[in-house]
């Protein structure tokens, strides 16, 4: 048995009267986990709080798909572990090292070293409520 939703109801093939012409072509609903590659061991979903990155198109409540295998690239958005906090922010490469670049006002860039670590690079975004 295939399991899933089709088990209990009608899936486009199991008609009672006329045979469904779609019988050999049923494919099921689109699988977002596959599109977002969420089954790979280095992909992690991360929920956003706060709206400092609104100009970058990242809103509170958004689900980011973080890729822990991707190499950092200047200008990309990353998930960072910084002095005991989990942040989502942009990165820059200056004077031979990576920096976390704040989007919020009144904040200073933080060099990526010691207790400031890039955890994963943001690869995708899901918004369930537009």
């Amino acid at each position: 048995m295939a399991g899933g939703d089709g088990e209990a109801g009608y899936d486009g093939t199991n008609t009672t009267g006329f045979v469904s012409p779609a019988g050999d072509a049923i494919e099921g609903p689109i699988d977002l986990a596959a599109i977002l590659d969420l089954r790979r061991p280095h992909r992690y979903p991360v929920r956003v709080s706060g709206d400092a990155l609104r100009e970058r198109g990242i809103h509170p409540g958004d689900i980011l798909i973080a890729d822990a295998a991707a190499a950092p690239v200047a200008g990309r958005v990353v998930i960072a572990m910084v002095f005991g906090e989990v942040l989502v922010c942009q990165i820059a490469f200056r004077r031979g090292q990576w920096w976390l670049r704040p989007a919020g006002v009144g904040r200073q860039p933080v060099p990526v070293e010691g207790e400031a670590e890039i955890w994963a690079v943001v690869a995708g975004l899901v918004r369930t409520d537009v």
Binding site: M1, G3, G4, D5, E7, A8, R40, P41, H42, Y44, P45, V46, R47, V48, S49, G50, D51, A52, L53, R54, I58, P60, I63, L64, A68, A69, I79, M81, V82, F83, G84, E85, V86, L87, V88, C89, L100, P102, A103, G104, R107, E115, W119
Partner: protein, 421 residues
């Protein structure tokens, strides 16, 4: 059989899973508690340094001097299971074969045409660290037993990049003279005591033993271990878990339970979980044991009850609950405070054999359809979304997990939260 084996294991696995998502725990002493928040089952080096022993009860250590800053967490098996899967997949993409030996250690086929296997293993560690977020150690050897030993040595000496290669007989000979034979995988306290009577203390003395003496002292296991330690591989990689012969669901109550209604509910819930496990493995059970007992150490009078009986082979939750309650009911005595209960299933057979049964009292096809629908709903919407009312509504007797971290990677409502900065 591969000519070179690796054993990779995650350091303080449960604690490392917690640290992967909670940066406050990095560098801090962390202890993960067993089911029901009973005792310490995983400790970071910082927690070990504070004198917290493996298996120590939480209620004894939580207020101990010097342990005020220790972070105690309930075991979050949904998270640990998913992180174990990630570790496996990172490895499986890079070596020819991986055997998941336990939740936190995996044997590797390291027959790989690379010029520098040590460097390869260091990159493997880096990949697991970066992608599955877990710190590990790797041992390399010509047999599984040697790889396991090499892993223990790598773990004990953090300065060696977490990789230890014991492929060369010279490297092994030096170690074998130093290490006690109890360090060998498969030699427990009883074996070590028996060997001590033969004057064997170190691994070197064990491998120098006459093979017949080794066999006499430790039966066939001894002969096999001796061969493995000498570099003769006897244990191949097992790539599929062996078929289960029995299955158990047992839990301590979150609080002591006195009423029949609560005991019955808990037993029904355990029977239901056992049914899920059976169906996940495509098996039917032909025998069942139910048991319950009072607290062994709190001063209450000891009372244990147990019953074993044959049942019509099934994996149907409704039948399993009915059988469990039917067995438990006549054993019930009022006036006791119950501490633990459980269901054990035996005589497991593949579900495909069911159609051959004579005189079946249930319609197997109909039962399979109902159970498949139940499992499908629970797989999609989370465990216990749909369950039988016999397993309780309030479930106040349930196992305690007061200090549970979020199920970051398996539950949509509990994802890692990052603050936009």
């Amino acid at each position: 059989m591969p000519a070179t084996f690796g054993l990779i294991d995650a350091n303080s696995f449960y604690c490392s899973c917690e640290r992967a998502f909670d940066p406050r725990l990095r560098g801090a002493p962390v202890v993960v508690l067993s089911n029901n928040d009973g005792c310490a089952v995983a400790r970071t080096p910082e927690a070990k340094a504070r004198g917290i022993g493996m298996g120590e009860p939480w209620h004894l250590v939580r207020f101990r001097a010097g342990c005020a800053d220790v972070e105690f967490l309930s075991s979050n098996y949904a998270l640990y299971g998913d992180m174990s899967r990630r570790m496996y997949e990172v490895l499986a993409a890079r070596v020819p074969a991986v055997e998941p030996y336990s939740i936190d250690e995996m044997f590797l086929d390291l027959d790989i045409p690379v010029p520098d296997l040590m460097a390869f293993c260091r990159r493997l560690r880096d990949a697991v660290r970066r992608e599955a977020k877990l710190p590990t150690c790797i041992g390399i050897g010509p047999t599984k037993t040697i790889a396991k030993l090499a892993n223990a040595v790598a773990k004990a000496s953090p300065d060696m990049d977490g990789v230890r290669d014991l492929r060369s007989p010279e490297a092994r000979a030096a170690l074998y003279r130093e290490l006690p034979v109890s360090e060998v995988w498969g030699i427990g306290a009883r074996h070590a005591a028996r060997l001590a009577r033969l004057g064997v203390a170190t691994i070197a003395e064990f491998v120098a033993l006459d093979p017949r003496l080794a066999r006499d002292a430790l039966t066939a296991t001894g002969a096999r271990l001796r061969a493995e330690l000498l570099g003769v591989s006897c244990l191949p990689l097992a790539l599929a878990a062996p078929t289960r012969r029995g299955l158990a669901v047992t839990r301590c109550f979150g609080r002591l339970v006195t009423s029949w209604a609560e005991l019955r509910e808990a037993m029904a819930a355990h029977a239901a979980r056992a049914g899920e496990k059976l169906r996940a493995h495509g098996l039917l059970a032909g025998a069942m044991t139910v048991f319950a007992h009072t607290h062994p150490h709190n001063g209450d009078p000891w009372h244990g009850l147990q019953h074993t009986g044959r049942i019509e082979p099934t994996s149907d939750t409704r039948a399993l609950i009915a059988e469990a309650i039917r067995m438990l009911r006549p054993l019930w005595r009022p006036g006791f405070r119950w501490f633990k209960c459980g269901v054990m299933l035996a005589d497991l057979v593949p579900a495909s054999l069911q159609s051959r049964m004579l005189f079946a009292t249930r319609d197997p096809a109909r039962s399979a359809r109902v159970m498949a629908a139940l499992d499908a709903v629970n797989a999609r919407h989370g465990r216990d979304t749909l369950r039988l009312a016999a397993t309780g509504i309030e479930r106040s007797w349930r196992t305690r997990h007061h200090r549970l971290s979020p199920r970051y990677t398996t539950h949509a409502g509990e994802m890692l939260v990052a603050r936009a900065w």
